[in-house]
Amino acid sequence: MDEYRVLFIDDEEELVSALVERLEYRGVDAEYVLNGSDAMKKMAETKFDVVVLDLKLPGMSGAEVLTRIRRDYPGTPVLMITGHGSLEEGVEEKPPGAYDYLAKPIELEELMAKMKEAIEASNAR
């Protein structure tokens, strides 16, 4: 898998814009939106290989966005980002349906590995 397209959904624009730029330097086609309703519009226009979704979003919550993606784009894997320092502590805040869950702060190499893994698992189905 050489190239893939990822959509980030996170309201911390300064965080997500830096992440997107760093991914672009690594050959990843990355875009971002700041809320769930923009995400649904963007996904209706463009096919993404993987979505990275923050749990805490203004307006439509991350869990609601996840439910909609699962319903409308069942083949698109979703990586969910939680704000917890460790995933064990955040276990109660893991809505079902995501491919996997990552804790903030995000490690870029780990994120890239997870994105590839999610896409490969989705393609293998």
Binding site: L15, L19, P58, G85, K104, L108
Partner: protein, 224 residues
């Protein structure tokens, strides 16, 4: 509400602990974002350094923007830590003399993200003069937080939640106003009343059309 006094105490302690935990969880979430932005910005600088070494030009404006972002986020983090520290120290003594305006403003800033997640705006208003109170600032913040949260239960995008503080004839009056819960009911008003008793204060709630207004009063020590 339970009848037995020790059961009351236990229930109040549990509620206080839950309140403390909720504020800390919210602040740690924000701090995580701050650290994440600084981390990714530093990573981006490394990427740009690599690009420059490869002989590609790196616009000065881009470097300046990243440096500014790191500075802004560092200041945001410092502000959050100061507020969190002030909040944590509000539990130091059961009775303290404190400035109500400062305490309310601090709590509102720590709570702002909860409103933002509902796409609502939290507005705080108070006068220039400090309003000195003797009592537990932690307990008062707990009551205020509970009121603010109730206005956010069914808040809609664009809603305003207002918190105002004023001194009136030897008392301090705080009003918390926002959208009423769809259930039309106020949660835990009995417990909030018990907390206010400990502050020699009162709490009332009124629902008018779509709005809920909490009126909280405590004795004030007069202007200083």
């Amino acid at each position: 509400m339970p009848d037995d006094e020790s059961t009351h105490e236990k229930a109040l302690s549990e509620k206080s602990l839950a309140f403390f935990g909720a504020v800390m969880a919210s602040v740690s979430h924000e701090l995580n974002n701050v650290i994440g932005i600084v981390d990714q910005s530093a990573g981006l600088l490394e990427d740009l350094l690599y690009v420059a070494r490869e002989g590609q030009p790196v616009p000065e404006e881009k470097l300046k923007k990243i440096a500014e972002r790191i500075t802004t986020q560092t200041q945001r983090g410092i502000g959050l830590i100061k507020r969190m520290n002030r909040f944590a120290h509000s539990t130091d003594e059961p009775i303290l003399e404190f400035d109500l305006n400062e305490t309310v403003e601090n709590l509102a800033e720590l709570t702002r993200r909860k409103a933002t997640l509902k796409k609502a705006e939290l507005k705080v208003g108070y006068g220039d003069e400090p309003i000195k109170i003797t009592g537990s600032p932690f307990l008062l913040q707990e009551v205020l937080y509970a009121c603010i949260m109730q206005t956010l239960i069914d808040a809609e995008p664009g809603d305003n939640v207002s918190v105002s503080v004023a001194a009136q004839e030897g008392r301090a009056v705080m009003l918390v106003e926002g959208r009423k819960p769809l259930s039309g009911e106020v949660n835990d008003l009995d417990y909030l009343g018990l907390m206010m008793n400990r502050l020699d204060g009162t709490i009332e709630s009124n629902i008018e059309k779509e709005r809920i207004i909490f009126r909280i009063t405590v004795p004030a020590m007069g202007r200083r």
